[in-house]
C-alpha cells in the first residue's frame, strides 16, 4: 500500500464521502421503492428521486457536465415520457394488486444473490483504491466538450444517426394503422410491418 493511500481510512471520512454515502442511501431507497411499490404513478415519481440522486452523485464525483445532462435527459424527458406512457395505457391510479408477477420470490432470490456476489467482488477488488478528487478538472463542460469533439467525433456523429433512426422508428411504430389493415387479420398487418 502506498503512503498516499495510508493517509486515508474508513474511520476518517471526508466531507464528500459522507455526502456521497447519505445521497447514496436516499438513491438506493428510492430505487427500491420504485421497483416494489404497487402504485404505478408513484413508481415513476420515485424514479425521479433516484435519478436526481444519481445526478448529485455525479456532482460529488466532479462530473458536472454529466450531472446536468442527467437532469436534462432523464429527469426532464425520460420520466415525462414514462408518465405519458402510463397515461396512454390507462394505468390504474391507486394500488393495483397485479403490479408484481407471480415469480416475485424467484426474482428476489436472483437479485439478492447477484447483489451479494457483486458487492463482495467489488469490495474485495477495490478495498485499497482511492479517487483523487483534487486533481485537474475532469468533468467540466470545457474538458468534456474538447475530448468529445477531438477524440470522439465519429461515435458522436454515429449517435446522431442512431437518434434519427430511433425517431423515425418511433413515429412509424406509433402511426395509426390505415383502416384496410386494421380491419383485416393480423397476418397482413405483420407483413406490412415488415415491409416498412
Amino acid at each position: 500500500m502506498s503512503p498516499a493511500a495510508q493517509s486515508h481510512g474508513f474511520l476518517s471520512p471526508s466531507g464528500a464521502e459522507v455526502a456521497f454515502v447519505l445521497v447514496g442511501l436516499v438513491t438506493f431507497g428510492a430505487a427500491i421503492v420504485t421497483v416494489t411499490t404497487r402504485q404505478i404513478v408513484h413508481a415513476a415519481l420515485w424514479l425521479v428521486v433516484a435519478l436526481g440522486g444519481i445526478a448529485v452523485e455525479y456532482l460529488l464525483l466532479t462530473a458536472e457536465f454529466i450531472a446536468w445532462v442527467q437532469v436534462l435527459i432523464y429527469v426532464g424527458s425520460v420520466v415525462v415520457l414514462l408518465l405519458f406512457g402510463l397515461l396512454l395505457t390507462k394505468a390504474p391510479i391507486g394500488r393495483s394488486p397485479d403490479a408484481d408477477s407471480g415469480n416475485r420470490w424467484a426474482a428476489l432470490l436472483v437479485a439478492a444473490a447477484s447483489a451479494a456476489v457483486l458487492v463482495w467482488v467489488v469490495v474485495d477488488a477495490f478495498r485499497a483504491t482511492w479517487i483523487d478528487l483534487d486533481g485537474p478538472a475532469a468533468g467540466s463542460a470545457a474538458v468534456t466538450g474538447a475530448s468529445l469533439f477531438r477524440h470522439w467525433v465519429l461515435p458522436f456523429e454515429a449517435l446522431s444517426v442512431l437518434l434519427l433512426a430511433a425517431l423515425v422508428g418511433a413515429i412509424a411504430l406509433s402511426r395509426r394503422q390505415p383502416p384496410a389493415a386494421a380491419a383485416g387479420s393480423r397476418a397482413p398487418d405483420a407483413a406490412q410491418e415488415g415491409g416498412r
Binding site: E57, L61, L88, A91, S96, S101, V110, V119, A166
Partner: protein, 133 residues
C-alpha cells in the same frame, strides 16, 4: 474518495433494476427498471473515469453515449408498448405469450405433438387465440 462507495452503490442499483425487470408485470414498470440498470452502469463509468483519468476521458464520453442510447431506447420501447396496448388492450408482459413455448404450467404441454398426429396444429391454434384474447 474511496472507490468502493460509488462501485457498491452502482452494484446495488443494478440489482434493484434486475429485481424490477424480473418481478414487474406492467411493461412500463419494466422499462423503469431498465433505466435504473443503465444508470448504475453510468455511475460506474463516471467513477472509474474520475479514478483512472485517462487522456481521452473515455468514461465520461461513454456515459454521454449511454445516456443518448437510453433515451432512444425508452422512445422505441414506449412506442412498442403503446402499439401492443392498442392491439391487445393490455400492457401486461405475462399475457404476451405468443412466442412462448408451452411450458409445464400450460394445459396442452403434457402430451407432446408426436403422439396425436391430427390434433397438435389445432391445439396450438386454440392456445394462441386463447393467449391473445
Amino acid at each position: 474518495m474511496h472507490l468502493v462507495f460509488p462501485a457498491v452503490l452502482s452494484m446495488l442499483l443494478f440489482c434493484a433494476g434486475v429485481y424490477g425487470v424480473l418481478a414487474r408485470r406492467n411493461a412500463i414498470l419494466v422499462l423503469m427498471a431498465v433505466e435504473l440498470m443503465l444508470n448504475a452502469v453510468n455511475l460506474n463509468l463516471v467513477a472509474f473515469d474520475v479514478w483512472l483519468r485517462d487522456r481521452l476521458h473515455s468514461g465520461q464520453a461513454l456515459t454521454l453515449f449511454t445516456i443518448a442510447v437510453a433515451a432512444a431506447e425508452i422512445g422505441i420501447g414506449l412506442a412498442i408498448v403503446l402499439m401492443v396496448y392498442r392491439g391487445r388492450g393490455t400492457s401486461d408482459v405475462d399475457r404476451l405469450r405468443d412466442t412462448a413455448e408451452p411450458g409445464p404450467g400450460d394445459q396442452d404441454a403434457a402430451d407432446g405433438p408426436a403422439d396425436a398426429p391430427g390434433t397438435p396444429a389445432h391445439r396450438t391454434e386454440a392456445h394462441r387465440t386463447e393467449a391473445s384474447a
